[in-house]
Every structure is written in C-alpha cells, then in structure tokens.
Symmetry: D2
Subunit: 493 residues, 4 copies
C-alpha cells in the first residue's frame, strides 16, 4: 500500500482526468445540489455539527453561483470531485473534510447525472411533443391533399399527404410515452448507498430523495450505484425517436428534388451553395439524418461500455458525458424536425398531377372486378395488369382506362369480357373517390384522418402538460433545497 499524494502521470491527466473533466459542465450544477443535500442530511443526523455544516453549505452555495468555467476544475488534480475538494479545502480548511462522510465520490456524481438527465429527458419530451403537434396540425390541413402512397418509392395506391404525415405522429407519441417511463427510472435516488451497501452513519434515504425532488429511492444500494440499464434504455428511446424522424427527413429530401417537387422547406431551414447560385439545399434534413447516424453510434458505444464485469467505474464514468450529450443531440434534431414540419410548403398540385399521371388505382380496380364480376383476385389482377400494359404502351394513364380496354384484356386472360360500364369505372379510377373508400379504422378517408389528427394533437398537449408539471416540481424541490441550505448556513454564522 503506497502513500497517497503522488502526482498523476501526464498521460493519466490527458487520457483519464482530462477526459472526465470535460464533462464537468454537465455535472457542475448537479454536484452542487448533491453535495448540499448530503451535508444537510449529515447535519440533520447530527453527524456534522451545525457550525462546520454551515460553513460547508456556504461554500457549496457559493459554488452553485459560480459558472463552471470559473470554478477551477483542473485535470492536473484529478477529476471534478478532486478539484471540488481542493477548492473547498482552500476556502474553509478541514471543515471541508466533513463532506466525504459516508459517501464515495461516485454517489455524488451519480446523483448529479440524474439531476441533469431528468431535465434532458423533459427537453426531449417537449421537442417530441412539438413534432407531434406540427405533424398533426399539418396532417389535418392536408387531409384532402391527394398523393400516391409509395413503397420502394414506386406509386402504390392513392392516399393523402395528411395520412402519410400522421404515420409519424403515432410512433413519436409512443416514444414520448417511453421517455416518461425512462424518466421514472432516471428520477429515483441512489443517495445513501454509501460505499455500496449503505453506511454505518445512518441516513434517511427517503428524506434525501425527497429533498432532491426524486420519486423515491432505488431500493438495493448496489443496484443503485452500479446498474445502468435505465441509462441505456433512455438513450435507446432517444435514438429510436431520431431514427424515426430521419425517415421523415429522407422522404422530404427526395420530395424536395426538382423531379418530385412535392414539398419545399422554409428558407430558414435551407442553406445556399457557396459555389452554385441556383441551389437552396435542404440542409436541415441532412443534419437530422446525420445526427441519427451519430446517435446510433452513441447507443452502441453505451452498450460496448457496459460490457465489463460489474462495478467497473468506466460503466458510469463514460455515461456521465455520453448520455446527456446524446439526449441533447437528440433534442436538437427533434426540435429541428419540428421546425421543418411546421414550416413546410406542400405542392398539392404537383402531388395530384403525379398521382393522376400514374396507375395507382390498379389494385382498387382489381378489387372492384373481384367484388362485382366474381373473379378471384389473382385473375382480376392479371386482367388489370394486361390492360395497364396496353394503356401504358399507348401513353395513357390509369384514369384513361375504358370498359372496352378492360374487356379486351379480360378476353385475353379469361376468354370472357367483364361487361363493366365506363360510368361505373369512373369512380373506381378516380383517385379521390378511391381515398374516400378508406373509411376503415386508421384509413386515409379525410374524416378518418382528421379525427386521428385531432386525437394525436390532444395526446401531445397532454404530454406537454405532464412535462410542465414535472419541470415545475423539479424547480420547486431544487429551490427549496437551496433555501434550506441558505437557512442552515445563515444559522451557523
């Protein structure tokens, strides 16, 4: 056993402490709160006397008012906790030593991280709520903006831009719900875990948890200190959210091309080319897609970091920075997509022209033949396919198909005409009429879409309200904690 006080090697300062200290800006605020709550708890139990406790609280309150860049975090002396001890000792001498009673450094930092993450989670929830709001609102406006739904980027069946858009509101709302679940894990208190299994000093874990605004304690103390499943979980949810948004971004990028010309981004979401005066690049979409890629890597990294024996410090040391930064980046991407959706110009005419110019009514036509002529679907499909190839070769569109053309195709495939009339075909071939038949639950008929949009919007509003309540509660708890510290510091003077 060697004496302490040795200097860290330069390569340890660079590759160890320096790497940790880079996360100090993320943790500074939470460390102050965690330390304050700890001192208050020690004081309440009579473990530390009022006077030194008061002095300690005084320097901690002072730290709380000090911006991180002025605090004096310096890797030459270790990670953030060491710099803090150094500063406090310089200020009040051995009284600073009471801070460490019954608590390892990691407990302070674990608490600080959770205090930070609960805000990050709310920020991300709020951004996702904005996406659902923007999507639902725009979807309702475009419940009758007809376009060809596409798979493989090929025209499939007639649909609307509103129905398309809403298919993103649902998964984003599910991610919001998951984020609230994840927040429930985040917002629990590890405080009072001691070295790992509690401390002999006694400590009211529930009281400290309440003071910090946590929803109770994490029961098992070693679980509280070391398990990171909830960290991985919240990053996973955030990455899944942005991956979903990146899909929308990729669609919009394609539809912003001259060739599609379905949509265009607001100027504030594009950027000009430095070289090419004609170009307005949909830069926002590129950034969201790239951010999804970065985030997929961040989640993978979290899993890779976790693949060690248990109770290994790297599991958490690297989470301190990686998790809040991932949530923050996810928040940026999400806010950007919310803005993009809200600012989107939709070229309904061009969408309709493309729809009308194609053959997206084919499956409906086959369904109609099946339902009225008694042909099985595969036979009806073959008849329609034959007819479409003829039409296509003649430069005709789906809406131009006549009963006579169909009869000819039917005779070729089955030996019999179908006997439909041009009048009845008109409705079957009209893309707008087709969409109006989609009255099934969740279908594209305008009223169905408007109703879904209304409910999605309501869900987003409810989620946003819930977020506001939580934020208010966090604010209140933290204020009360600071006030209690100020009172105790005052008393001891």
């Amino acid at each position: 056993m060697s004496a302490p006080g040795n200097r860290p090697a330069p390569e340890l300062i660079e590759g160890g402490f320096g790497v940790e200290i880079a996360d100090a800006p993320l943790l500074h605020n939470g460390l102050n709160l965690a330390d304050i709550a700890h001192v208050l708890a020690l004081r309440e139990r009579g473990i530390v006397a009022d006077e030194p406790a008061g002095r300690l609280l005084g320097v901690l309150l002072d730290a709380h008012k000090t911006p991180v860049e002025e605090f004096g975090y310096d890797p030459a002396f270790g990670e953030a906790y060491n710099s803090r001890e150094r500063r406090f000792t310089a200020e009040i001498g051995t009284d600073a030593g009471w801070l460490h009673a019954g608590r390892p450094r990691r407990e302070a930092v674990r608490i600080a991280m959770r205090l930070r993450l609960r805000r990050d989670a709310l920020d991300l929830i709020d951004a996702a709520c904005d996406v659902v709001r923007a999507t639902s609102t725009l979807a309702a406006e475009h419940a009758e903006t007809f376009m060809a739904d596409q798979t493989y980027l090929q025209h499939a069946q007639p649909s609307t831009f509103g129905h398309y858009l809403l298919s993103f509101a649902y998964p984003v709302q599910r991610e919001i719900d998951r984020l609230f679940d994840d927040l429930a894990w985040v917002n629990r208190s590890p405080a009072g875990a001691g070295g790992v299994n509690g401390s002999r000093l006694g400590y009211d874990r529930s009281r400290v948890a309440e003071r910090l605004g946590f929803d109770g304690v994490i029961e098992h103390t070693r679980d509280a200190m070391w398990q990171a499943d909830g960290l991985i979980k919240i990053v996973s949810t955030a990455v899944s959210l942005v991956t979903t948004l990146a899909k929308l971004a990729e669609d919009l990028e394609i539809w912003s091309s001259t060739e599609f010309d379905y949509v265009s981004l607001a100027d504030g979401h594009t950027r000009s080319s430095v070289l090419m005066p004609q170009k307005r690049n949909p830069y926002a979409l590129t950034m969201v897609r790239g951010e999804a890629g970065v985030l997929i890597g961040r989640l993978t990294g979290m899993f890779a970091i976790s693949k060690t024996p248990s109770a290994r410090s790297d599991n958490l040391i690297f989470a301190y920075g990686e998790v809040p930064r991932a949530l923050e980046l996810a928040g940026k991407a999400t806010r950007l997509m919310a803005g993009v959706i809200a600012g989107l110009s939709v070229n309904a005419e061009r969408m309709y022209d493309a729809l009308e110019g194609g053959f997206s009514q084919a499956a409906d036509l086959a369904d109609y033949i099946l339902a009225t002529c008694g042909l099985d679907y595969r036979t009806a499909y073959d008849v329609v396919g034959t007819c479409l190839r003829t039409a296509s070769a003649q430069g005709l569109r789906g809406v131009d198909i006549t009963a006579a053309m169909l009869d000819e195709a039917a005779r070729e495939r089955t030996g019999e005409p179908l006997g439909l009339t041009d009048a009845e075909l008109h409705d079957v071939l009209d893309p707008r009429a087709i969409v109006s038949t989609r009255v099934v639950v969740g279908g594209a008929a305008p009223d169905v879409v408007r109703d879904m949009a209304r409910r999605c919007l309501a869900d987003a509003e409810a989620s946003a309200a819930r977020s506001r309540e939580l934020r208010t509660a966090f604010d209140a708890a933290e204020s009360a904690l600071l006030q209690a510290a100020a009172d105790a510091a005052e008393l001891s003077r």
Copy 2:
C-alpha cells in the same frame, strides 16, 4: 411497364429471395394463421363465397400441418409468399387467387412475425423469471456469506455474497417489466391495413385482431405496416438484459480462477480441455459473454437497417429474421445463466478469508473516528490511511489494528492521539459486525437482504404467472381460429 412472369436473375435468387426464404422456418406457422384469418374475414364479409373459401381454408389447414422443410419453399420462385401462392394454385387452381384480395404480401408477413414474436417474448420473460428466482433464492441462502465488495476488482467494504447477487435480481426484473411493455406493442394487429391505407373491400379490423389473439388493432394503417420502433425496442430490452447477465458472468469467471476460488460452476456448465487434463473451463460463462457481444451487434444492425426513407421493405424484411433470432439467442443465454446461478457452488470460507485478510474495514473505521472523536472525514481518513500503511508494511491485516497503532498515526497527522480502546475497535474492525450495521433501505444487513430476496422472488413468480396467462390466451385464440377454419372448410364440402 413490363410483363410479369420474368425469371429472377440468379444473383437475385441468391442475394434476395434466398436470404428471405432462410427465414421461412420462423414465419411458416404465423403465415398459415394469418392467411386463415384473412380468408375467414373475406368469407364473413361475403367477399369470397363459401365454397372457394372452404377449399382455400382446406389447403391452408393442410399447410399448417406440413413441416416447413416439406412445404416447398423455394427461392427460385421468390420469397416465402410466392412459394405459398405457387403451392396453393397447384392444389386448387384459381380458387387460390382469392387469398390476395385486399391484402399485400407484407401484411401477411407482418402478422406472422408478430405471432412469432409474442411467443419469443414470453420465452424470454420466462427465462428471465428463472434468473430472478435463482438469484433471489441463492441470495437468501448467502445473506450471511461475507465477502469484500469490490470496485475496480479491489476490496472496498465488507458485504455479503447475498447482497451482491441481489443487485442482479433488480435490473433483471426491470427488464421483465419492460418486456411486458414491449409485448404490448408486439401483440397488436396490423391486419386490414390493405395496400397501406385500408382497402375498399371493407374488413372488420377488430374482429380479425381478436381472432388472432391480438390485444386490438394498431390504429393508423401506415403506422401499422411500416413503423418498426417496437421491434427495435424489444431487441434493445433483450440485449440490455443479456448485457446485464454478462456482467454477472464476467464476475463469476474471475471468481472461478484458482487465485480467487470464490465460486465454482456445476460440472454440467463447464467443459474439459482436450489438451490439458487438469482444466475444467467455465465454458457457460464464456458463451453468455460472447452472446452478449453478438446481440449488441444485432441491435446495432436493426438500427442501421432502419436508417432509410420510410416505407422501405428492407426495414421489415430483415427484421423478420433478425428480431426473432435475437430474442431466441437472448433466451438461450438467459436460460444458461439461470442454470449457472442455480448450480453455483459458493466457497464461503475462501471469501471470508480474503475479506479478513484485507483492509476493507478502513472506511468504517474512519466513520467511527469521525462519529466519536469529532474529526472531519478527510482527517479521519488520513489517520486511518497512515495507520494502514504501517500495518500493511508489518504484514498485519485490518482486524489486527490496535488502538495504539491508531494513536500513533493520529499523532503523526494531527498531533493528538485518538484515545480509542481496543475493545471498542474490535467491533468496528470485525467485517461481520460492519455488515450488521447496514440496515439502511437496500443495505447488506442479513435481514434486509432476506427481505429483499423474498420480494424479488415474489415479483418473479407474479411475472411468470402473468406470462402463463398470456400464453394460455394465445393458445386458445389460435386453436379457436383453426377450429373455425376447419368448420368453414367442412361446411363447404
């Protein structure tokens, strides 16, 4: 528009259809059920007449009884769905053509995947319940098996093997709870989504969902067909679970070494060396760790697959195989760890010797000095540290420290002796006595551990019961569906 019927290129058979057909064994059963439910729905709506419906149901029931390897899935003709159409047409001619009314191939396969995944999810839940059971049971047995808790693999503070073990029961139970949430996403019906926004044929989506044993429909039809957030989510949970188990496996591997000799695996979980007769390798642990690594990659792959525009087939085509295989592998790893824990031999004597041979009581000693001598923690820590270095240099252990030694160290650091007695030191230095002070919520005191173990076990039993109920419900729905099909097939004869 070209004519259909062209042959796929050999490289498409190899790199496209062949890749898909390799998943047919995972989907065969679900495809049969999905097709049967679809035909019953068409028949109920009068879209297909009783007679062809009956014939179609007949061949589908026959398919259901046919093992996948005898069914005739052949990539030369396309993916699984194409082989099915080919077989059914060969059997009953154009009547087979009714199967496709109002439904793309993807809808059938999406349903089949969910029918498969809900079983995979339950299997994984059951395996995880076994882990919690085994862990809780063993933890209760070892509530007084003393060992040094370790961080950085260095002795930290006195604890017990029981407390250690239980720190895995909690996160595994959390994953069980998450898996039930994930299952709620899985077990909803996409049926009736049609091309993507419903179909003109009308279709009672709720009725079909109920018949298939789903907990209702996924409302928005395009969401139902294309969004994959829940797939990523369930894989994420499964991988997180196995990553947690791999931590336990890594700990046990280290503790199985000759040098530690804390635990040994049951013979049935080891394997002999082919070359070295003395070796009994803890092979099970290696496999679990490797499986965690493979699974981290599988999840990353799912995210990478998802990074495309929306409504791209690869998003789901590759999920058909990747997701059930990932859950299956997670299940294997989890069952293996459940077995390992249940069969573990614990060398309590060796654990205690190692504990007693070290200095893990140091922090408690410092806490005691703080509480009784009025020294702040950092000063107390320095005194203890000084004393320990002296003891260590003399070949003494923590339990050998005397009041005189402490006084000497205190004089060196503070100029004053502490004035403690050897009698009071005895309890402060005894690791067992230290553990008995950990009565805080979630601490290591034996009764606290036994109480937690009891509740963890109860949670696992409750989860297992819930899983059994769901399984029974799935069985019942599927049986009823087959019976309805048999009745309809019979009627039409």
Copy 3:
C-alpha cells in the same frame, strides 16, 4: 478437481454447444484438412507410428468425403471437436487418441476457420471485381450521357452518368486492394502453437503451414492463437464495401421512381407486387441496402465480442460463424449489385431533359463572368443568382438566359452591365459544352472518363487474375495434402 465425463446441462447444450455446432457446416472441411496435416506432422516427427497414423488418416479421409449433415455433429456431446473425437474413437478405438497430441481443440478450429475464410475472401474479391468491371464498362458507354450531378439531391452542375458511375469503381477497387491485404493476414498458419506457447513434442511449423497452403506461420504462438485484429479487419473491409454499394443502390432506387425515371432495373432484379398489378419494385436495391445494415451490425458485434480480457474463448468461438457468414452475405450483396449494374437500363433522354430544364449552368456562368468581366466570384455569383430568380419566375430555363437579362441583373447588383453577347453565352450555358471543359485530371469530359474507365477495368482484370492464381494455389496445396494422407494411409495397411 472433478472427474470428467459429466453430462452437460440441457441449457448448456442449447446455449453453448448447440450455438457452436451450428457453425459446423462452415468448419467441417477445414477441420478435416487441419487434422490431416496435424497427423502427417506427428507421423513425420515419429511421434505417432505409421500404423496408427495410417488408420487415423483413413478415418479423416473418410470424414472428408462425408457431408457435414451426415457426419454426426451432435451438441449433446459437446461442440464439433467432441463429436469428431467421438466418431473417430468409435471407428478405430484408442488410435483416435493420437490426434490430440500437442494440440488443443482451438488450434484445429482456428486453422479450419482460416482455410474457410481464405476462400470467402477470394469469393468476395471476385464479386467486387465484377462490380468494377460492370461499372467501368457502363461508365464508358455513358461518357456522353449528360445529367445534372446532384448534391442534397438538388441539381448541381452538368455532368455525365458515366462520370457518376465511375465514382464507385474507385472505392470498390480500393476495397479489393484492402481485401488482398486482409487475406495476407488470414492466410498465415497458427499451426504448432500448442497449448499457447508451443509444445514439447517439436513440430516443424513452417512445413505444416506450407502443406496447408498458408503463406508462412504467424510467428508468436500466443498471438497466433488469440489475437483477432485481422478478423475484425476483413469484416470491416467487407462492410465498408457493401456500404459503398448501398449508396449506389439508394441512388438507383430514387432514380427508378416515376418522378425521376432516370434508370430502370432489369426485370430479373425486380419483383412484382402481389396486390398491385402496376408495380415492378426495385427489390434488388432494397435487399442490398438492408444487407448493408445487417453487416454494420455484424461488424459492431465482432468488436463487442472482442471487448474482453485476452485469451477468452468467446473472442474466437463466435468469430467462427460470424466472420464467414458476414463475408458470405457481403458476397451475395456484391454479386447482386454487379448484376444490377450490368443489367441497368439508362434513360439518357430523360436525364438530359431534366438537366436542360434546370439551372445547373449557374456556377459556370459565374466563372465565365469572373474570367471575362473581372468581377470577383461572389459578385458574379450574386449577378447570376439575381438573373436566375428572374428567369425562374418567368418559367425560363438556364439555357434561355440572354445577355440582356444578365445585364439587367448586373446593373441591379453592381450598377454596370456586363456587356456579354448572346453568342458567347450559348456555349457557356450549353450543358454539353460545359462538360467538355472538365478536362482536369479526373474530370467529367468524355475522353477523361473513357480513359479512367479503361484503367479501372484493367485494374479489375488484374485483381481477378491475382485471385484466380491464389485459388489455384489453395486448390493445389489441399489436393497435395489429401494425396499425402492417402499415400500414408495406404502404406500403413
């Protein structure tokens, strides 16, 4: 130390041996060759006598002729090596026991894996050569197929489809070169490493390496047995290759849309919709993109598997299956893209129309103004931008811009007209003329493209020839090995 012969637990059979045995089909052939080379080496050193060696070689040659599914690999008895020992002992009794002299199981499997991988590497190289061939050939054909180069999917500057295509030939050729480097790591012999640091039995490592067709030995025996950097490396190269091809696939998917209509895939690379008769989906492209996603996960998995202490069996056990399967999937994707490129139809007319309909000549116009009117680029850019906005608002195209329009814009921005003539503008605005100015190294001028295409093709041919030579050498070495075994087996009868 417990007695051997205990039965593996069922969960170990499922989650351990069963997982390993699933890779037996990949390793069977190599295991036979590795065992044969080992026995021949033991026999040459006189460690095993001619007669038992002959018998052993006899059963090994027999194993070599036995298809893997008939061999009797059975996880109930362990992984593949155990099943082999079991079979050989059943056939020739204790003579089978000589096989294990001086060699752990892992050495046999490591060799088998490398024998497999060197073939997989060549297969992938060959596929990549086909991509370069197809790309270069098509590029040369389309050296004058004009199109707008696109960034952000927005028209940038006039270019050609040939120049575009060639931008894939170069990185694919680089991956080919890397694959040859990676193969150099793969094709070295770990044989003779013994337990890990050699064996007391003596063994000519070079002789065995030569017999197996390896390019020499891996010097350090523990490095030979345990380090996996080269495995990760070859997977990394393969995944990088497919990721590059997926970019091309994504471009082609977009360009296959009705709205773009730049290219269409050969029928043999598409698939019909089951529901929608009008749809010919570019299925091959979807599969390549999805395979890229799967492979990104496979590589991540390899890294995650590697994150353990050293000499952990899982590092290699999981590589046995993951690495060849990843290379195989990469090969399938690569062959599929080679086919797609070779079969592609290019709609040159549509490309030109889109080009001519836009404003891609803007930067050239600004460059021309800069070069002839003495305006700095930013000013020239502003003049052109102003002019384009006017033209765009009037429904004009870039080619319609007149000297007068430019003068007006210039006056607006600078107060002065430019004084250019319509005659000189004609060439500056003609996209074809613009492309002809790109004579810089690597530029888009047709002759430059044709020259690059010729050299790319030559590089691919040279690589393919090198691959053929290596394959011939592997074949020859393996044949000679089998012949030597047959001779020795014959002799001992």
Copy 4:
C-alpha cells in the same frame, strides 16, 4: 427559387450550424492552409489578379495567426465557411469574393480535414510505437519470469510473463502498419474537384497537392469529394488498436487484484478512493477499457452516417468532427497504456508461487508419457487426469506427483503401470524446465522471447523514424506554403 439572405431559423442554428461550428477548432488551421493554397493557384493561373490575391492572402495569413476562439466563428451566420467569408468581406470588401472561384465550400473543408487527420494519424502511430517499445522492453526483462498461461482465466501451461506481453506487441505493430496504409489514403489531395467534376477555370491539381504536402491527387473528382471509405478505415484501425489494448488492460486489472497480486500499476496511474483510505484503484485501466467502448460506438456511428444515398453532405459534415476526435481519443488511450506498461511493477515471486501451486504441467506430462510409453494422447491424458485428481484430493501440487502415483493411475485406466522414474519426472514436472522446451518458432523459451522482443523493438523504432520523416515533410510543405503566401502578399503591396 427564393432569394438568398434569409435568416436561418433558430432551430437550424442550434441543430445545424451550431453542430458544425463546434468542429471549427479542428478545422481552422487546415481551412487557412486550404484557402491560401487555393488563392495561390488562382493567382498562378491568372484567374485572380496579383493585387486582390495579395490582399486576400494577407487576411488569410492573418487568420492563420488568429486563435480559433478569437476568429469569430458564429453559428448565427452559418457554418465555419460562412463566418470566414463574413470576416474576410468585412476586412477587404469584394476582394474576398475571389476566394470562391471554382470551388465549393466542401472542397475547402475536405482539404482541411485531411490536413488535420494526417497529423492525428502520426500522433496515433507514435503512441502505438511507444506501446510496442514498452511492451518489447518489458517482455525482454521478463523472459524468465515464469507464470501460468491462462485461458478462461484458468491455469493452462507454464509460460512466462515476457511471452505473454509480447503477444500484444505483434498486433499493435500490425495496427501501426495499417495506420501507415490508412495515412496514404488520407494524405491525398481532393483539391481542384470543383463542384464535383472539375471546373472550367483550369487548375493544376498536382501543383496544389504538392504545395499542401499531399502525396498526389485523388484522381476521380467525385470520388475525391464524396467517398469516405478511407475515413471509416482509419477509424476502424484506431478502434481495433484500442480494443487490443483494452484486452491487456483487462488482464492487468484482474492481475492487480489482491487475490492475484501479479502486477501493480505505478502510483501515477492509479487513483485513491475518496471514501476508502486503503484503496489504490487501477484507474488508468478502467479509462482505457471505457475508451475502447466509446470508440466502438464512434466507428459504428461512422458506418451509420455513411448509410445514405451518395453525395449527401452529412456523410462528411459529421466526419469532420467524429474522425479526428476518435483518433485523438484513441491516441490518449494508447499513450496511457504505453505509460502503464512502462511503469508496471511485476510480482515475479507471486506469479511463480501460483504457477508452482497448480497443475499446469499436466499436458506436458501426458506428452511425455505418449512419447516415452507409447500411449496415445487421449489415454495418456486420462492417466494423468486420474493421477491429478488423486493428488488434488490429497492437497498435493503438480510438482509433487511421483512415479508411483502415476503408475497407480495408469493401472486404473489401462491395467498397466507406466514404469517411469521419479528422476525423469522431475524435469517433466518443473515448470521452468517445461518452458525451456518451447523452442519452436514463436515459443516461450527465454531466448526465443528475447529474440522476438529485440525484433519487435526494432520494428517500432523503424516505424517511429518513418513517422518523424513524414511529420518533417508536412511541416516543410506547410511552411513553404505560408512563405509563398507571405511573398505574394508582400509583392502586391
């Protein structure tokens, strides 16, 4: 087409420009050099006149002397390039506009990134050379420090710490070689690619490449601008390197435990516990392992970012920061491990005691029996195994085995005694004597290890020398470029 000059939306500033500007510190230096080289090239071709060129070079040289934080990069105005244009225009008005002639922003940044990465690559190479040096040097010192080689962390066969250590020198040297290959890709010039296919202004690409110290141009201009295979490749190599080092770190962590006590880290690589005075945690090892995990995620992210269509800005925008940061982190981890190895204390006595206390000579004993008694290996193995179990049950060690004990075991298994003498057994059982038999290529015999160590050290020195030469060449080219700019700026005054 909308007018430029619109303000970016706040969410674009946050989630777009702000994200990019965060990388300005990495690119600032390279951007200055790239701009200077561009202006010199334009001036040489007479595209920009001497006077404005001189003024432009003047502000660029000034920028070069300005620290990045004082430069005025501000996301409110766009990414870094926009801020630069803004500053230069403020300084010299429209003369700044000449900078953009024939070059998009991306070309400047691509060059800047490569100028940065070639330094990062050398830094990483140097760090890796230090690892090989430290490893080889320590290995030579411990060529006779006997220890049990371990697999599954179980004693396998007698070996030395020197042989063990050297098994890391080889793969690290391979990564060094790969980094030089990767650097060859990095250090080529994309300059002169223009929009994407060259520019009409003419431009001597080779001359610019030479001026910037590149090893020539990347031929195909679109390849030069957009393909990122080499970026992925260098990150892959760096991550593979750190993953290998993390294995060593994990081994050392285990061996630093009290139970093993094989090695201890220098004080400068440990850190004290804040709570537990007895603890000296091997903190450096934890950091290296965690950094490996982070880096695995960074590589995955690079692949995920790359999974897009071609010519998408996110492919490179995110690489600008991710790649140099990944290399930098890899460098930190590598330097830290070099320090750890160089400072390691090795407890040879404890290693030998553990070795002697076990049964690692078992396979050698079986080999000896095979070679002298004519028993096949499996039979010899069974005899030895039987004997060891008896010895183990009696508390004996491998070295305590007698000829009589072996005879008894042999009789039990084969019915016959072996007839060996205690005298001959002595050498077979002595671990040191066993190691001395490992004279095979790459084996553990001390002279073999010393010879390998000598050659590894020489390779590292040669690599370090090559790195120095390259660095000198980069320095020289960059100095000459700045001098040429200064001369041109001076001339024009």
